[in-house]
């Protein structure tokens, strides 16, 4: 791990008109580190994720990212071309609804191969081999490579979305409720897979979830949001085992009850 953070949020704030999205969020994320952002619905988690990934312009504060050439840039000053390049190489974005992150009209192989083609791969056989490797890595039978995601189950779609994002070896992946809407047993399998991939690849990730079990399993650090503010942050195990804020205590106790 180098001394410089991969991503730095400085007093990041967003107002939608007069309505608060999130306010004064600051943290540093290092390479290989997983941060969970938890909080109830409406607390500003998705807003924060969009600000961090440059999809939304902040009303205040800034987001810095250390590029592959080790130069740290304010993501707002990136050109549209640079931002897009980042999004198909060094970043991934996993949506809760896989349909938003996939092209439903083309095969699984094309979905995984798209980023490779976007960065200049022009050998069909090699693109397909790489797609097969990634399908297997996310536990999808390679014989399903020519099927469209419409023929996949919810859990498979989500794994396909992950493969599509990881094929260019990004250093940072944003995930918005990646296990939301899936059956409990499917969730467990997906979490297991994600935990393995994140560890194997040394990925940094920012995972938005309202499910503390997801945070516990995946993340090193946690940031608890309430009404658009970060009210508590720290090592995941410490915060979940010994929450300081009454609100966090409430959150934790509600899932610990049988």
């Amino acid at each position: 791990m180098t001394g410089q953070p991969l991503l730095t949020a400085e007093s990041v704030t967003k107002f939608y008109g007069s309505r608060l999205g999130c306010r004064d969020i600051g943290f540093e994320l290092y390479a290989g580190e997983v941060l969970a952002v938890v909080g109830e619905s409406g607390s500003g988690k998705s807003t924060l994720l969009k600000l961090l990934s440059g999809q939304l312009e902040p009303s205040g504060g800034r987001v810095l990212y250390r590029m592959r050439d080790d130069v740290t840039r304010d993501i707002l000053t990136l050109t549209e071309a640079e931002r897009r390049f980042l999004f198909r190489t060094d970043w991934g974005f996993v949506h809760q609804h896989a349909e938003l992150g996939l092209r439903m009209g083309v095969s699984a192989g094309a979905n995984v191969g798209e980023r490779l083609m976007a960065v200049g791969w022009r050998h069909y056989g090699r693109i397909r081999d790489e797609a097969e490797t990634w399908l297997e890595r996310v536990e999808i039978d390679a014989t399903r490579i020519d099927d469209r995601p419409t023929a996949y189950s919810g859990g498979m779609r989500q794994r396909l979305q992950i493969a599509r994002n990881l094929v260019t070896s990004p250093r940072l992946v944003f995930m918005d409720e990646p296990t939301g809407g899936l059956d409990v047993s499917v969730q467990a399998r997906l979490l297991d897979l994600m935990r393995g991939l994140v560890a194997d690849l040394g990925l940094a990730a920012i995972v938005v979830t309202h499910d503390l079990a997801v945070a516990r399993l995946l993340s090193h650090r946690i940031l608890v949001m309430k009404d658009g503010r970060a009210i508590e942050t720290g090592l995941t195990d410490q915060v979940l085992d010994d929450p300081r804020e009454p609100y966090t205590q409430l959150l934790v106790s509600s899932i610990l009850q049988p």
Binding site: E80, A81, R84, R88, R103, G105, V106, S107, G109, A110, G113, E114, R115, M117, A118, V119, R122, H123, Y124, G125, I127, R128, I145, D146
Partner: protein, 304 residues
């Protein structure tokens, strides 16, 4: 059909070539911009024309804007001069401009086409005007116009290869045979729609100016003379122009684009040149196909 050159007297009820001079200037400005940025789709204020959109109103407006009194116009549809669409566009310009029209490729100064590029090599004194229904090559996978515009601006063309990838995954080879995407002068990806890929190689380094007009979509684009036009492909699945197993049944040509035509009620068929002018010229030069003697006059025409 007989090769013909005819001159008509224009009707005085119309401005020359139907469009008013201000509209023509506007279209010419769009054309100049299109020539300056090869393959880039220039928006223009497409006008209502006295024909439905499917009839090539974009091409008609481009032709109207560049047509001069001394031009000789040829109009083809599927390579033929005598289809309803070609005949009505030719009549339209005879009536509104009085310019000479011709079916001979070599004699024409402007050729308006719906699907084909003539077999005879074009020259620097000629302009080829294409009627285009859908100008946007990225539309297949990205329906949002705002997004495709950004993709062109940023040369973000990975999606084009996704389409070709999908073709190979489905068919074992690139099955796109019409509207096969090309890259122009190493920069803009362009849809030569709806020409067959057989004609793609003719677009490359072509001596004639090529202009494309899409009426409903309000776009004009261009390939200036001697511009590089490269068909997209993969290293292990290179672009291949369509090849035919047959020779033309009428003129024995083996280098032309062939149409399959039905000859009788009993399921008889033959393959003949889609470029009727070229086929007739070859027959006039003495080339004889296998079925030349037997072909019905409706197919062989009077040059049989």
């Amino acid at each position: 059909m007989n090769a013909m050159i005819s001159t008509a007297t224009p009707s005085t009820a119309y401005n020359f070539a139907y469009l008013d001079e201000q509209t023509k200037r506007m279209i010419r400005r769009a054309i100049l911009k299109a020539i300056a940025i090869p393959g880039y789709q220039v928006p223009f204020a497409s006008r209502e024309m006295p024909m439905p959109y499917g009839w090539g109103t974009g091409g008609v407006q481009v032709t109207a804007a560049i047509l001069g009194a001394n031009d000789r116009l040829k109009v083809i549809d599927q390579g033929a001069d005598d289809t309803t669409n070609a005949v009505s566009i030719r009549k339209f310009f005879e009536k509104t401009s009085g310019v000479a029209t011709t079916t001979l490729t070599a004699d024409a100064t402007i050729i308006q086409t719906r699907h084909r590029i003539p077999e005879k090599e074009l020259t620097e004194t000629q302009v080829l005007v294409y009627q285009v229904p859908i100008p946007e090559p990225l539309r297949f996978l990205e329906p949002r116009e705002t997004e495709t515009r950004v993709m062109h601006a940023l040369e973000d063309y990975g999606l084009m290869h996704v389409k070709l990838y999908e073709d190979i995954a489905t068919h074992g080879h690139i099955a796109t045979t019409y509207a096969y995407p090309v890259k122009v002068e190493g920069r803009y990806v362009m849809d030569p729609s709806p020409t067959p890929k057989f004609d793609n190689p003719k677009m490359d380094d072509c001596a004639a100016l090529q202009l494309f007009g899409a009426g409903r979509e309000k776009r004009i684009y261009a390939v200036p003379p001697h511009t590089s036009v490269v068909s997209l492909d993969f290293e292990d699945h290179p672009f291949e122009a369509t090849k035919f197993d047959h020779a033309c049944a009428l003129c024995a040509a083996t280098h032309t684009y062939l149409d399959e035509v039905i000859t009788d009620d009993a399921g008889g068929r033959m393959f003949v040149c889609s470029d009727t002018d070229h086929c007739e010229e070859r027959r006039a030069e003495g080339h004889r196909g296998d079925l030349l003697g037997e072909a019905p006059a409706a197919i062989a025409g009077s040059a049989a």
